[in-house]
Symmetry: C2
Subunit: 126 residues, 2 copies
DNA sequence: AGTTGTTCCGTGTGTGGTAATGGTACATCT
DNA sequence: AGATGTACCATTACCACACACGGAACAACT
């Protein structure tokens, strides 16, 4: 598994990590069940902060691409191949796009939408 | 029509203007068909920039509270009384709240939602 | 000629979010 | 003992945006 992190790249480091791991799975360089290096170890290898790697791992686990078995290490998810190709954000963008374009058609200003958005984000109605 | 603008108030100046004009209509201090001072004149009276007053007027016109008849001046909208009580933003917030909480329940990160939001705002799908 | 609403250019300040860094601590497994 | 993922505290730099301000110009009305 060869991972290259480019600090000069405007793409966030944790995003680079996530993308490259997903790519490695799609290219079958890593297969379901394989073990991944620990957060601290990978952070050392790539000269990154362990928090940055932890963030990437957390996102990958949420997307069911990897599985962290607690103290036993982290492994590639059984259905990692399918889930690596899924783009959760696409659905999110579609959903928001619908609500936003509805607002725009109703004549709501962009800045008003932005204000309403941060209102909705900060409210605790989960 | 007595309008008071408080510069120290954290509420934006144009918002104060909008609210007070709506209040004046609800309290029947101004009635449908009445003429409103011009943008520049009101800006002078309140010691505001004309842009600030123009912004307030534009919003009031969108909400069908006032009517600008081009070069003939600005007047109170026939149905101003009803429209002054409506809160467009409330509907917007509700609509966004629905989409956002759906995303959160799907496990989408707050920052991911924000990114998707700015994506949707910048896209040209009107 | 003067005023109307509108639109374009721009400047400056303040707020808030993201990204990344660091340190410390925890319970649990090998 | 040593490593695991995870949680909390924090700071720094950057960037996008809201708000308000200023100047200038436009076409069309009185």
């Amino acid at each position: 598994m060869e991972i290259t992190i480019d600090i000069e790249d405007p793409i966030p480091l944790f995003t680079q990590l996530v993308e490259q791991i997903k790519a490695a799975i799609i290219e079958s360089k890593i297969k379901p069940g394989d073990s991944l290096p620990s957060i601290r170890q990978l952070a050392n290898d790539l000269e990154l902060n362990s928090k940055t790697v932890a963030k990437a791992y957390k996102l990958l686990e949420r997307d069911l691409v990897i599985q962290s078995r607690g103290y036993r290490g982290t492994f590639v998810h059984p259905e990692a191949l399918i889930n690596s190709k899924m783009d959760l954000n696409a659905d999110v963008i579609a959903q928001l796009n619908f609500a936003i374009s509805a607002c725009k058609k109703a004549g709501v200003t962009d800045s008003e939408i932005r204000i309403a958005f941060s209102c909705a984000m900060n409210s605790k109605n989960n």
